[in-house]
Symmetry: C2
Subunit: 231 residues, 2 copies
Protein backbone atom coordinates (compact mmCIF):
# COMPACT_ATOMS: atom_id res chain seq x y z
CA UNK A 1 0.00 0.00 0.00
CA UNK A 2 1.18 3.55 -0.61
CA UNK A 3 2.25 5.81 2.19
CA UNK A 4 2.51 9.60 2.16
CA UNK A 5 5.93 10.88 1.10
CA UNK A 6 7.69 12.56 4.01
CA UNK A 7 8.20 16.29 3.53
CA UNK A 8 12.03 16.18 3.43
CA UNK A 9 11.84 13.76 0.49
CA UNK A 10 9.30 15.96 -1.27
CA UNK A 11 11.68 18.88 -1.01
CA UNK A 12 14.54 16.80 -2.34
CA UNK A 13 12.42 15.80 -5.33
CA UNK A 14 11.45 19.37 -6.07
CA UNK A 15 15.00 20.63 -5.89
CA UNK A 16 16.34 17.98 -8.24
CA UNK A 17 16.16 18.97 -11.94
CA UNK A 18 12.97 17.71 -13.58
CA UNK A 19 14.35 14.43 -14.82
CA UNK A 20 11.65 12.06 -15.91
CA UNK A 21 12.82 8.56 -16.78
CA UNK A 22 13.73 8.10 -20.41
CA UNK A 23 11.19 6.59 -22.74
CA UNK A 24 10.77 6.48 -26.48
CA UNK A 25 7.86 8.88 -26.32
CA UNK A 26 9.73 11.39 -24.17
CA UNK A 27 12.72 11.26 -26.50
CA UNK A 28 10.65 11.83 -29.63
CA UNK A 29 8.67 14.67 -28.01
CA UNK A 30 11.85 16.34 -26.86
CA UNK A 31 13.35 16.00 -30.33
CA UNK A 32 10.24 17.62 -31.76
CA UNK A 33 10.56 20.57 -29.38
CA UNK A 34 14.10 21.03 -30.59
CA UNK A 35 12.96 20.86 -34.21
CA UNK A 36 10.30 23.51 -33.67
CA UNK A 37 12.62 25.97 -31.99
CA UNK A 38 15.92 25.39 -33.78
CA UNK A 39 15.26 23.46 -36.99
CA UNK A 40 16.14 19.97 -38.18
CA UNK A 41 19.90 20.48 -38.12
CA UNK A 42 19.73 21.09 -34.39
CA UNK A 43 18.06 17.74 -33.78
CA UNK A 44 21.26 15.87 -32.98
CA UNK A 45 21.50 12.91 -30.65
CA UNK A 46 23.68 14.99 -28.37
CA UNK A 47 21.38 18.00 -28.17
CA UNK A 48 18.29 15.87 -27.60
CA UNK A 49 20.12 14.00 -24.85
CA UNK A 50 21.27 17.28 -23.32
CA UNK A 51 17.68 18.49 -23.09
CA UNK A 52 16.91 15.29 -21.23
CA UNK A 53 19.83 15.76 -18.89
CA UNK A 54 21.74 12.75 -20.12
CA UNK A 55 24.31 11.73 -22.72
CA UNK A 56 23.74 10.79 -26.34
CA UNK A 57 24.60 7.15 -25.70
CA UNK A 58 21.53 6.77 -23.50
CA UNK A 59 19.19 7.32 -26.41
CA UNK A 60 20.43 4.24 -28.19
CA UNK A 61 18.57 2.01 -25.75
CA UNK A 62 15.32 3.33 -27.28
CA UNK A 63 16.22 4.26 -30.82
CA UNK A 64 18.34 2.45 -33.39
CA UNK A 65 19.96 5.60 -34.77
CA UNK A 66 19.33 9.22 -35.70
CA UNK A 67 17.43 8.39 -38.88
CA UNK A 68 14.99 6.29 -36.91
CA UNK A 69 14.49 9.16 -34.48
CA UNK A 70 13.75 11.48 -37.39
CA UNK A 71 11.23 9.02 -38.79
CA UNK A 72 9.49 8.69 -35.45
CA UNK A 73 9.27 12.47 -35.26
CA UNK A 74 7.81 12.50 -38.74
CA UNK A 75 5.05 10.10 -37.84
CA UNK A 76 4.20 12.11 -34.74
CA UNK A 77 3.89 15.21 -36.94
CA UNK A 78 1.78 13.35 -39.50
CA UNK A 79 -0.49 12.45 -36.60
CA UNK A 80 -1.42 16.12 -36.33
CA UNK A 81 -3.05 16.06 -39.76
CA UNK A 82 -6.79 15.86 -39.36
CA UNK A 83 -8.32 13.28 -41.65
CA UNK A 84 -11.92 13.55 -42.97
CA UNK A 85 -14.46 10.83 -43.59
CA UNK A 86 -14.63 10.34 -47.36
CA UNK A 87 -17.54 12.12 -49.00
CA UNK A 88 -17.51 10.95 -52.65
CA UNK A 89 -19.45 13.95 -53.95
CA UNK A 90 -16.82 16.30 -52.58
CA UNK A 91 -13.66 14.39 -53.42
CA UNK A 92 -11.92 17.34 -55.00
CA UNK A 93 -12.43 19.71 -52.10
CA UNK A 94 -11.62 16.99 -49.63
CA UNK A 95 -8.28 16.27 -51.27
CA UNK A 96 -7.48 19.97 -51.35
CA UNK A 97 -8.34 20.37 -47.68
CA UNK A 98 -6.34 17.33 -46.66
CA UNK A 99 -3.28 18.35 -48.64
CA UNK A 100 -3.47 21.93 -47.42
CA UNK A 101 -3.62 20.67 -43.86
CA UNK A 102 -0.59 18.52 -44.52
CA UNK A 103 1.42 21.47 -45.79
CA UNK A 104 0.32 23.57 -42.81
CA UNK A 105 1.30 20.89 -40.32
CA UNK A 106 4.65 20.33 -42.01
CA UNK A 107 5.32 24.05 -42.07
CA UNK A 108 4.67 24.22 -38.34
CA UNK A 109 7.63 21.86 -37.92
CA UNK A 110 10.19 23.34 -40.30
CA UNK A 111 12.53 20.79 -41.81
CA UNK A 112 10.39 17.71 -41.20
CA UNK A 113 9.44 17.53 -44.90
CA UNK A 114 13.06 16.68 -45.71
CA UNK A 115 12.66 13.50 -43.71
CA UNK A 116 9.83 12.34 -45.98
CA UNK A 117 11.94 12.68 -49.11
CA UNK A 118 14.81 10.81 -47.45
CA UNK A 119 12.66 7.97 -46.09
CA UNK A 120 11.97 5.13 -48.54
CA UNK A 121 8.22 5.11 -47.81
CA UNK A 122 6.63 6.41 -44.62
CA UNK A 123 5.09 3.38 -42.94
CA UNK A 124 4.35 4.81 -39.52
CA UNK A 125 0.78 4.24 -38.36
CA UNK A 126 -0.20 7.87 -38.79
CA UNK A 127 1.26 7.95 -42.29
CA UNK A 128 -0.81 4.90 -43.12
CA UNK A 129 -3.96 6.64 -41.92
CA UNK A 130 -3.31 9.64 -44.15
CA UNK A 131 -2.49 7.44 -47.14
CA UNK A 132 -5.65 5.41 -46.56
CA UNK A 133 -7.66 8.64 -46.54
CA UNK A 134 -6.06 10.01 -49.70
CA UNK A 135 -6.61 6.77 -51.58
CA UNK A 136 -10.20 6.35 -50.49
CA UNK A 137 -11.08 9.97 -51.26
CA UNK A 138 -9.49 9.92 -54.68
CA UNK A 139 -11.15 6.65 -55.57
CA UNK A 140 -14.37 8.66 -55.83
CA UNK A 141 -12.91 10.52 -58.81
CA UNK A 142 -13.60 7.42 -60.89
CA UNK A 143 -10.10 6.57 -62.11
CA UNK A 144 -8.77 3.04 -62.48
CA UNK A 145 -7.21 1.93 -59.18
CA UNK A 146 -3.78 1.93 -60.74
CA UNK A 147 -4.15 5.59 -61.65
CA UNK A 148 -5.57 6.43 -58.23
CA UNK A 149 -2.39 5.04 -56.70
CA UNK A 150 -0.18 6.99 -59.09
CA UNK A 151 -2.16 10.20 -58.61
CA UNK A 152 -1.95 9.99 -54.82
CA UNK A 153 1.79 9.50 -55.15
CA UNK A 154 2.13 12.56 -57.35
CA UNK A 155 -0.04 14.74 -55.13
CA UNK A 156 1.77 13.67 -51.96
CA UNK A 157 5.15 14.24 -53.60
CA UNK A 158 4.17 17.71 -54.74
CA UNK A 159 2.81 18.62 -51.33
CA UNK A 160 5.93 17.42 -49.57
CA UNK A 161 8.22 19.32 -51.92
CA UNK A 162 6.15 22.47 -51.43
CA UNK A 163 6.39 22.09 -47.67
CA UNK A 164 10.13 21.62 -47.95
CA UNK A 165 10.51 24.75 -50.04
CA UNK A 166 8.31 26.65 -47.64
CA UNK A 167 10.45 25.82 -44.64
CA UNK A 168 13.71 26.34 -46.54
CA UNK A 169 13.96 29.89 -45.25
CA UNK A 170 13.28 29.01 -41.66
CA UNK A 171 15.18 31.45 -39.50
CA UNK A 172 14.83 34.41 -41.85
CA UNK A 173 12.77 37.32 -40.63
CA UNK A 174 9.94 38.76 -42.70
CA UNK A 175 11.97 41.80 -43.74
CA UNK A 176 14.91 39.63 -44.71
CA UNK A 177 12.68 37.49 -46.89
CA UNK A 178 11.12 40.51 -48.57
CA UNK A 179 14.55 42.04 -49.07
CA UNK A 180 15.80 38.91 -50.82
CA UNK A 181 12.77 38.80 -53.12
CA UNK A 182 13.50 42.39 -54.06
CA UNK A 183 17.13 41.58 -54.76
CA UNK A 184 16.28 38.57 -56.93
CA UNK A 185 13.78 40.66 -58.85
CA UNK A 186 16.37 43.37 -59.49
CA UNK A 187 18.91 40.76 -60.52
CA UNK A 188 16.50 39.22 -63.02
CA UNK A 189 15.53 42.60 -64.42
CA UNK A 190 19.20 43.42 -65.03
CA UNK A 191 19.87 40.18 -66.94
CA UNK A 192 20.92 40.46 -70.63
CA UNK A 193 17.63 40.53 -72.51
CA UNK A 194 19.13 38.89 -75.58
CA UNK A 195 20.04 35.71 -73.71
CA UNK A 196 17.04 35.61 -71.38
CA UNK A 197 14.25 37.40 -73.26
CA UNK A 198 11.36 35.51 -71.68
CA UNK A 199 12.76 35.65 -68.18
CA UNK A 200 13.36 39.39 -68.40
CA UNK A 201 9.98 40.11 -69.95
CA UNK A 202 8.24 38.09 -67.24
CA UNK A 203 9.95 39.72 -64.27
CA UNK A 204 6.82 41.58 -63.14
CA UNK A 205 4.97 38.28 -62.99
CA UNK A 206 7.67 36.03 -61.53
CA UNK A 207 7.44 37.31 -57.99
CA UNK A 208 3.67 37.53 -57.92
CA UNK A 209 1.69 35.45 -55.51
CA UNK A 210 2.82 33.96 -52.23
CA UNK A 211 3.71 30.35 -51.55
CA UNK A 212 0.12 29.52 -50.71
CA UNK A 213 -1.21 30.79 -54.03
CA UNK A 214 1.51 29.07 -56.05
CA UNK A 215 0.94 25.84 -54.21
CA UNK A 216 -2.80 26.04 -54.71
CA UNK A 217 -2.25 26.58 -58.44
CA UNK A 218 0.00 23.53 -58.78
CA UNK A 219 -2.45 21.42 -56.83
CA UNK A 220 -5.26 22.58 -59.12
CA UNK A 221 -3.21 21.58 -62.16
CA UNK A 222 -2.84 18.07 -60.76
CA UNK A 223 -6.52 17.80 -59.86
CA UNK A 224 -7.56 19.11 -63.26
CA UNK A 225 -5.48 16.31 -64.69
CA UNK A 226 -7.32 13.86 -62.48
CA UNK A 227 -10.68 15.26 -63.53
CA UNK A 228 -9.69 14.98 -67.19
CA UNK A 229 -9.17 11.23 -66.65
CA UNK A 230 -12.41 10.71 -64.68
CA UNK A 231 -15.22 8.37 -65.61
Amino acid sequence: MSVPVPPWQQRAARERPVKRPLSLELIVRTALELLDTEGLDAVSMRKVAQRLGTGAASLYAHVRNKDELHELMLDLVIGEIEVPDPDPANWRQQIKDLVNRQVEVFSAHPGIAQVVLRTPAPTGSNALTVTEAMLSILRAAGLPDREVAFAVDAIALFATAAAMELSADFGLGDEQRAERIRQVEQYFAALPADRFPTLVSMVPVLSQGDYRERFEFGLDLLLDGVTARSR
Copy 2:
Protein backbone atom coordinates in the same frame (compact mmCIF):
# COMPACT_ATOMS: atom_id res chain seq x y z
CA MET B 1 60.98 32.46 -74.17
CA SER B 2 60.50 28.88 -73.10
CA VAL B 3 63.33 26.43 -72.79
CA PRO B 4 63.11 22.63 -72.70
CA VAL B 5 62.71 21.23 -69.19
CA PRO B 6 65.82 19.31 -68.16
CA PRO B 7 65.18 15.58 -67.68
CA TRP B 8 65.89 15.50 -63.91
CA GLN B 9 63.20 18.12 -63.38
CA GLN B 10 60.77 16.16 -65.55
CA ARG B 11 61.33 13.17 -63.34
CA ALA B 12 60.82 15.15 -60.21
CA ALA B 13 57.54 16.48 -61.58
CA ARG B 14 56.33 13.01 -62.46
CA GLU B 15 57.20 11.62 -59.08
CA ARG B 16 55.43 14.36 -57.21
CA PRO B 17 51.73 13.62 -56.58
CA VAL B 18 49.52 15.15 -59.27
CA LYS B 19 48.88 18.43 -57.54
CA ARG B 20 47.43 21.01 -59.84
CA PRO B 21 47.09 24.49 -58.34
CA LEU B 22 43.77 25.10 -56.63
CA SER B 23 41.06 26.91 -58.52
CA LEU B 24 37.34 27.28 -58.12
CA GLU B 25 36.70 25.06 -61.11
CA LEU B 26 39.01 22.32 -59.90
CA ILE B 27 37.40 22.38 -56.47
CA VAL B 28 33.87 22.13 -57.84
CA ARG B 29 34.82 19.34 -60.27
CA THR B 30 36.52 17.39 -57.51
CA ALA B 31 33.48 17.82 -55.28
CA LEU B 32 31.30 16.50 -58.08
CA GLU B 33 33.48 13.40 -58.45
CA LEU B 34 33.03 12.77 -54.77
CA LEU B 35 29.27 13.23 -55.08
CA ASP B 36 29.04 10.73 -57.94
CA THR B 37 31.01 8.04 -56.16
CA GLU B 38 30.02 8.49 -52.54
CA GLY B 39 26.89 10.63 -52.36
CA LEU B 40 26.16 14.12 -51.05
CA ASP B 41 26.97 13.34 -47.44
CA ALA B 42 30.54 12.54 -48.47
CA VAL B 43 31.00 15.97 -50.03
CA SER B 44 32.60 17.58 -46.98
CA MET B 45 35.12 20.37 -47.11
CA ARG B 46 37.67 18.04 -45.58
CA LYS B 47 37.18 15.17 -48.02
CA VAL B 48 37.20 17.46 -51.05
CA ALA B 49 40.41 19.05 -49.77
CA GLN B 50 41.91 15.62 -49.15
CA ARG B 51 41.28 14.63 -52.77
CA LEU B 52 43.15 17.77 -53.75
CA GLY B 53 46.01 16.97 -51.43
CA THR B 54 45.44 19.92 -49.14
CA GLY B 55 43.53 20.91 -46.02
CA ALA B 56 39.95 22.09 -45.73
CA ALA B 57 41.00 25.62 -44.83
CA SER B 58 42.53 26.09 -48.28
CA LEU B 59 39.15 25.85 -49.96
CA TYR B 60 37.89 28.95 -48.19
CA ALA B 61 40.03 31.14 -50.43
CA HIS B 62 37.76 30.15 -53.32
CA VAL B 63 34.43 29.37 -51.75
CA ARG B 64 32.51 31.17 -49.03
CA ASN B 65 31.29 27.99 -47.31
CA LYS B 66 29.99 24.49 -47.91
CA ASP B 67 26.54 25.62 -49.01
CA GLU B 68 28.10 27.76 -51.72
CA LEU B 69 30.16 24.79 -52.89
CA HIS B 70 27.00 22.70 -53.09
CA GLU B 71 25.27 25.40 -55.12
CA LEU B 72 28.19 25.67 -57.52
CA MET B 73 28.06 21.90 -57.98
CA LEU B 74 24.34 22.17 -58.66
CA ASP B 75 24.81 24.70 -61.40
CA LEU B 76 27.50 22.58 -63.01
CA VAL B 77 25.07 19.65 -63.00
CA ILE B 78 22.25 21.77 -64.41
CA GLY B 79 24.65 22.68 -67.21
CA GLU B 80 24.44 19.07 -68.38
CA ILE B 81 20.76 19.44 -69.21
CA GLU B 82 20.38 19.90 -72.94
CA VAL B 83 17.99 22.71 -73.78
CA PRO B 84 15.92 22.76 -77.00
CA ASP B 85 14.96 25.70 -79.18
CA PRO B 86 11.30 26.43 -78.51
CA ASP B 87 8.94 24.97 -81.08
CA PRO B 88 5.48 26.34 -80.19
CA ALA B 89 3.58 23.57 -81.97
CA ASN B 90 5.32 20.95 -79.82
CA TRP B 91 5.31 22.68 -76.46
CA ARG B 92 3.93 19.71 -74.59
CA GLN B 93 6.47 17.20 -75.85
CA GLN B 94 9.25 19.73 -75.44
CA ILE B 95 8.43 20.30 -71.80
CA LYS B 96 8.25 16.56 -71.20
CA ASP B 97 11.62 16.00 -72.87
CA LEU B 98 13.26 18.82 -70.97
CA VAL B 99 11.90 17.72 -67.61
CA ASN B 100 12.80 14.09 -68.27
CA ARG B 101 16.31 15.13 -69.13
CA GLN B 102 16.48 17.10 -65.89
CA VAL B 103 15.47 14.09 -63.83
CA GLU B 104 17.99 11.91 -65.67
CA VAL B 105 20.82 14.36 -65.11
CA PHE B 106 19.93 14.78 -61.43
CA SER B 107 19.74 11.02 -60.99
CA ALA B 108 23.22 10.69 -62.44
CA HIS B 109 24.45 12.81 -59.51
CA PRO B 110 22.58 11.29 -56.58
CA GLY B 111 21.79 13.76 -53.83
CA ILE B 112 22.13 16.94 -55.87
CA ALA B 113 18.35 17.40 -56.00
CA GLN B 114 18.39 18.02 -52.25
CA VAL B 115 20.47 21.11 -52.89
CA VAL B 116 17.73 22.60 -55.10
CA LEU B 117 15.12 22.27 -52.37
CA ARG B 118 17.48 23.85 -49.84
CA THR B 119 18.54 26.75 -52.05
CA PRO B 120 16.21 29.78 -52.04
CA ALA B 121 16.13 30.03 -55.87
CA PRO B 122 18.80 28.66 -58.17
CA THR B 123 20.33 31.69 -59.86
CA GLY B 124 23.41 30.10 -61.43
CA SER B 125 23.80 30.89 -65.13
CA ASN B 126 22.91 27.35 -66.18
CA ALA B 127 19.81 27.37 -63.99
CA LEU B 128 18.77 30.61 -65.64
CA THR B 129 19.15 29.02 -69.08
CA VAL B 130 16.90 26.12 -68.13
CA THR B 131 14.33 28.42 -66.55
CA GLU B 132 14.36 30.64 -69.63
CA ALA B 133 13.71 27.56 -71.79
CA MET B 134 10.87 26.27 -69.62
CA LEU B 135 9.16 29.65 -69.55
CA SER B 136 9.48 30.26 -73.28
CA ILE B 137 8.29 26.76 -74.18
CA LEU B 138 5.30 26.89 -71.86
CA ARG B 139 4.31 30.32 -73.10
CA ALA B 140 3.23 28.58 -76.31
CA ALA B 141 0.50 26.79 -74.33
CA GLY B 142 -1.42 30.06 -74.37
CA LEU B 143 -1.83 30.72 -70.66
CA PRO B 144 -1.66 34.16 -69.07
CA ASP B 145 1.97 34.96 -68.20
CA ARG B 146 1.19 34.80 -64.52
CA GLU B 147 -0.04 31.24 -64.89
CA VAL B 148 2.92 30.31 -67.08
CA ALA B 149 5.20 31.36 -64.23
CA PHE B 150 3.20 29.40 -61.67
CA ALA B 151 3.03 26.33 -63.87
CA VAL B 152 6.78 26.29 -64.50
CA ASP B 153 7.28 26.55 -60.75
CA ALA B 154 4.99 23.59 -60.11
CA ILE B 155 6.55 21.44 -62.84
CA ALA B 156 10.09 22.19 -61.70
CA LEU B 157 9.17 21.49 -58.08
CA PHE B 158 7.59 18.17 -59.00
CA ALA B 159 10.58 17.15 -61.12
CA THR B 160 13.04 18.03 -58.38
CA ALA B 161 11.11 16.10 -55.75
CA ALA B 162 10.91 13.09 -58.05
CA ALA B 163 14.66 13.23 -58.62
CA MET B 164 15.22 13.45 -54.90
CA GLU B 165 13.03 10.43 -54.23
CA LEU B 166 14.77 8.55 -57.01
CA SER B 167 18.22 9.05 -55.54
CA ALA B 168 17.03 8.41 -51.98
CA ASP B 169 18.07 4.79 -52.23
CA PHE B 170 21.49 5.51 -53.62
CA GLY B 171 23.83 2.82 -52.38
CA LEU B 172 21.26 0.02 -52.40
CA GLY B 173 21.80 -2.77 -54.88
CA ASP B 174 19.08 -3.87 -57.27
CA GLU B 175 18.29 -7.00 -55.26
CA GLN B 176 18.12 -5.00 -52.02
CA ARG B 177 15.68 -2.57 -53.59
CA ALA B 178 13.49 -5.38 -54.93
CA GLU B 179 13.63 -7.13 -51.57
CA ARG B 180 12.42 -4.01 -49.79
CA ILE B 181 9.54 -3.52 -52.21
CA ARG B 182 8.51 -7.12 -51.51
CA GLN B 183 8.68 -6.53 -47.76
CA VAL B 184 6.60 -3.34 -47.93
CA GLU B 185 4.03 -5.13 -50.07
CA GLN B 186 3.78 -7.97 -47.56
CA TYR B 187 3.50 -5.50 -44.71
CA PHE B 188 0.68 -3.64 -46.42
CA ALA B 189 -1.15 -6.87 -47.25
CA ALA B 190 -1.00 -7.92 -43.60
CA LEU B 191 -2.50 -4.64 -42.33
CA PRO B 192 -5.88 -4.79 -40.52
CA ALA B 193 -8.44 -4.51 -43.32
CA ASP B 194 -10.99 -2.81 -41.09
CA ARG B 195 -8.73 0.18 -40.43
CA PHE B 196 -7.11 0.38 -43.86
CA PRO B 197 -9.67 -1.10 -46.26
CA THR B 198 -8.62 0.90 -49.33
CA LEU B 199 -4.91 0.45 -48.74
CA VAL B 200 -5.26 -3.29 -48.32
CA SER B 201 -7.55 -3.69 -51.32
CA MET B 202 -5.13 -1.70 -53.48
CA VAL B 203 -2.00 -3.61 -52.55
CA PRO B 204 -1.70 -5.29 -55.96
CA VAL B 205 -1.72 -1.88 -57.61
CA LEU B 206 0.45 0.07 -55.16
CA SER B 207 3.74 -1.40 -56.24
CA GLN B 208 2.98 -1.34 -59.94
CA GLY B 209 5.07 0.72 -62.26
CA ASP B 210 8.61 1.92 -61.76
CA TYR B 211 9.70 5.43 -60.84
CA ARG B 212 9.83 6.46 -64.48
CA GLU B 213 6.21 5.48 -65.13
CA ARG B 214 4.94 7.11 -61.96
CA PHE B 215 6.85 10.27 -62.70
CA GLU B 216 5.54 10.37 -66.24
CA PHE B 217 1.99 10.00 -64.95
CA GLY B 218 2.35 12.89 -62.51
CA LEU B 219 3.88 15.07 -65.19
CA ASP B 220 0.97 14.24 -67.49
CA LEU B 221 -1.48 15.26 -64.78
CA LEU B 222 0.21 18.66 -64.52
CA LEU B 223 0.32 19.14 -68.28
CA ASP B 224 -3.32 18.10 -68.64
CA GLY B 225 -4.05 20.83 -66.13
CA VAL B 226 -2.11 23.28 -68.26
CA THR B 227 -3.97 22.19 -71.39
CA ALA B 228 -7.29 22.60 -69.61
CA ARG B 229 -6.37 26.26 -69.01
CA SER B 230 -5.12 26.90 -72.56
CA ARG B 231 -6.46 29.49 -74.92
